[in-house]
């Protein structure tokens, strides 16, 4: 019996290591590729660790200094290398848009969800089910009309347009999660606070929000990831550095047949840093948020 247990333990650990490799290796290899020279990456069999290690690819993106390896081999690919230089601006756009969407979600989402959780009013049920069902609509089905609306508003190629669209897509989820969260909190504290002279808003700010912090963290993380990751609507409405986001930029670079592969790898590495840090810091909230929201859907 004991030997059998040990064997199963070994198998489990082996499976776990395999899983870890399947998840991590693609990431590690892209990091390695981003540190290779353009000739190094084509070596067969491949050199798993960059040899020689070069940070010229990153240097090019941030300073515009063309990696020597290109010039030496006559491999200069001006069209795409040019685009790679815009990545820092794209990152800035993406982070600004995603942060704005988070702020809007926490502000308007919290107020609306609190109202849904604590008030009774005419049309409440209809409003709530409208918010819920709006999540089921495939983005592709509304892509063109959305483009038309944005054009009508004169917001084509603006960060504001994407903030509005992403807020409309994330708020239903935020309200759904937070309404459930607020409902699960006991009313007693709020009522006690109001007896002590707090206004309703003060009660929300000082009593309810601290208690709901894990829920707020979860919806904040979700709205950030959604906005940072979104591609279709960013592709349709953006056209210049004024509003292009990272996914649009790296997609454009990667489908360009002239693209330097090491620079594509740099683009990927730069694009995944923010979401990875966020996912690690907010892991617990993301997990519990996913489970409680989808679990009760």
């Amino acid at each position: 019996m004991k030997r059998k247990l040990k064997l199963s333990r070994v198998l489990l650990v082996a499976a776990a290591i395999l899983l870890g490799l399947v998840i991590a290796l693609p990431f590690l290899w892209v990091v390695s590729a981003s540190l290779q020279t353009e000739t190094g990456i084509f070596r067969r069999p491949p050199s798993w660790l960059p040899d020689p290690v070069t940070i010229d690819n990153y240097g090019y993106v941030f300073t515009g200094k063309i990696p020597e390896a290109y010039a030496a081999r006559g491999l200069l690919r001006s069209t795409v290398t040019q685009e790679a230089q815009y990545l820092p601006i794209g990152l800035q756009n993406s982070l600004m848009i995603a942060t704005s969407v988070v702020v809007i979600n926490l502000l308007f989402g919290t107020l609306a969800a609190y109202t849904f959780a604590r008030e009774r009013f005419r049309g409440q049920a209809a409003a709530f089910s409208f918010i819920l069902t709006s999540r089921l609509l495939p983005g592709m089905a509304v892509a063109i009309p959305t483009y038309m609306i944005i054009r009508q508003m004169g917001l084509l190629d603006s960060k504001t347009a994407l903030v509005l669209i992403y807020s409309a897509f994330t708020l239903p989820f935020t309200i759904w999660v937070l309404t459930l969260y607020f409902r699960s909190l006991p009313r007693d504290y709020e009522e006690a606070a109001q007896v002590d002279g707090c206004t309703r808003f003060q009660a929300l700010r000082h009593i309810v929000l601290p208690l709901a912090a894990p829920g707020l963290a979860a919806v904040g993380a979700f709205s950030f990831l959604f906005s940072y990751d979104e591609f279709l609507f960013a592709l349709l409405t953006t056209s210049s550095l004024n509003s292009k986001t990272v996914p649009v930029m790296i997609a454009t670079i990667s489908v360009n047949p002239d693209a330097s592969y090491t620079l594509i790898a740099v683009g990927i590495v730069l694009s995944i840093i923010a979401p990875i840090i966020l996912a690690i810091i907010f892991r617990r909230f993301i997990t519990s948020g996913l489970v409680s929201s989808l679990g009760r859907a």
Binding site: L12, V13, A15, A16, L19, G20, V22, I23, P26, F27, W29, A33, I41, F42, R44, F108, L111, A112, T115, R120, F121, F130, I131, L136, P138, G139, M140, A141, V142, P145, T146, I149, L164, S167, A168, F169, L171, Q194, C198, T199, R200, L225, D229, F231, P247, A251, Y261, A265, I268, S271, I272, P275, I276, A279, R283, I286, L290, V291, L294, G295
Partner: protein, 307 residues
């Protein structure tokens, strides 16, 4: 309660006591924004789908009834795209669900160090889908891809295989990338489901002489019905509407090997600028989606009655 609405003195008193004067004040702005970008476009698209709207002919948008829909049914390439989408969805949803369940069972084991794995598992799902797609575009590349390098070094292949530009292999390659990206969510949901199963239930089955498989099949699996339903519905939605991945991996090619229905709708709209057709295709997609969800709900409800 409802009668209070509209009574002025009452409203003022409520406002003074700190109660929002009208609940709609907080709800209306959000509803308006959501409606502007969902309800309005939805109606607009519904109208568009009954008209001939081709961007290259901007002044002629005659009403054509259900013609766009009938075209979809008769169009051979739309049919091919539908077949591809069905193959993709069936394989992808099955693989994602099974892998997610296996990973959850693994992570549920009380072994030290698995905490790191639980953190790691989120990563493929957290990064932009576009980034995940490009990672796999590089990994599977026919000239230098690491996957080819690995197979070569292990002696499994003798020359590099152009996974993404082979008619036979491309769809499979897209599925692999999709599964890598999507399995974390089911894994987390199943893991949460496993963690709320009381240990006594499983212990009791062990005492009664149930083996590992029997415990899984007759005790654990029935208790996972709720997460199973969510995973199937959610992953079907994701698989049917997959777009970003095709965009960066294959662009629907080679030929039409990876032209899934969602990609076809995109191409009709944005490559061929046939907006009416594109809207009809999107609506067909949405309808199929709802049908799938209804079927799952029914199947799992029937299953629950049996046990």
């Amino acid at each position: 309660m409802q009668a209070e609405i509209g009574l002025r003195p009452n409203l003022v008193r409520r406002w003074a006591s700190g109660v929002p004067a009208h609940p709609w004040l907080t709800v209306a702005p959000v509803l308006a924004l959501v409606a502007l970008f969902t309800l309005f476009p939805f109606i607009y698209a519904a109208v568009t789908s009954t008209r001939q709207v081709i961007l290259t002919l901007p002044d002629q948008t005659p009403f054509v009834g259900l013609k766009n829909y009938l075209d979809v049914l008769q169009d051979m390439s739309a049919r091919q795209a539908a077949v591809n989408a069905v193959v993709f969805s069936v394989v992808a949803v099955t693989a994602v669900t099974l892998l997610g369940l296996s990973v959850a069972l693994l992570l549920n084991q009380p072994i030290r160090g698995f905490g790191i794995l639980r953190a790691l598992v989120l990563l493929p799902w957290a990064i932009p889908l576009v980034s995940a797609g490009i990672i796999w575009r590089l990994l599977l590349h026919g000239d230098f891809g690491a996957f080819n390098g690995l197979l070569l070094q292990l002696g499994i292949v003798h020359s590099y295989i152009p996974w993404l530009s082979s008619r036979q292999l491309a769809l499979g390659a897209v599925i692999v990338a999709h599964v890598w990206r999507e399995f974390p969510l089911p894994a987390i949901l199943f893991l949460a489901g496993l963690q709320v199963i009381p240990p006594d239930v499983v212990d009791a089955a062990t005492v009664d002489g149930a083996g590992a498989w029997q415990r899984f099949r007759y005790v654990i699996l029935p208790l996972l019905k709720a997460p199973m339903l969510i995973v199937l519905v959610y992953e079907t939605m994701i698989a049917v509407t997959v777009f970003d991945l095709v965009y960066v991996l294959t662009g629907g090619g080679p030929g039409s090997a990876t032209t899934l229905f969602s990609w076809y709708a995109y191409a009709a709209t944005f490559h061929f600028l046939n907006l009416g057709q594109g809207a009809a295709l999107s609506f067909v997609m949405a309808a199929v989606l709802l049908l799938f969800i209804a079927i799952y709900l029914r199947v799992l409800r029937v299953g629950r009655d049996d046990t």
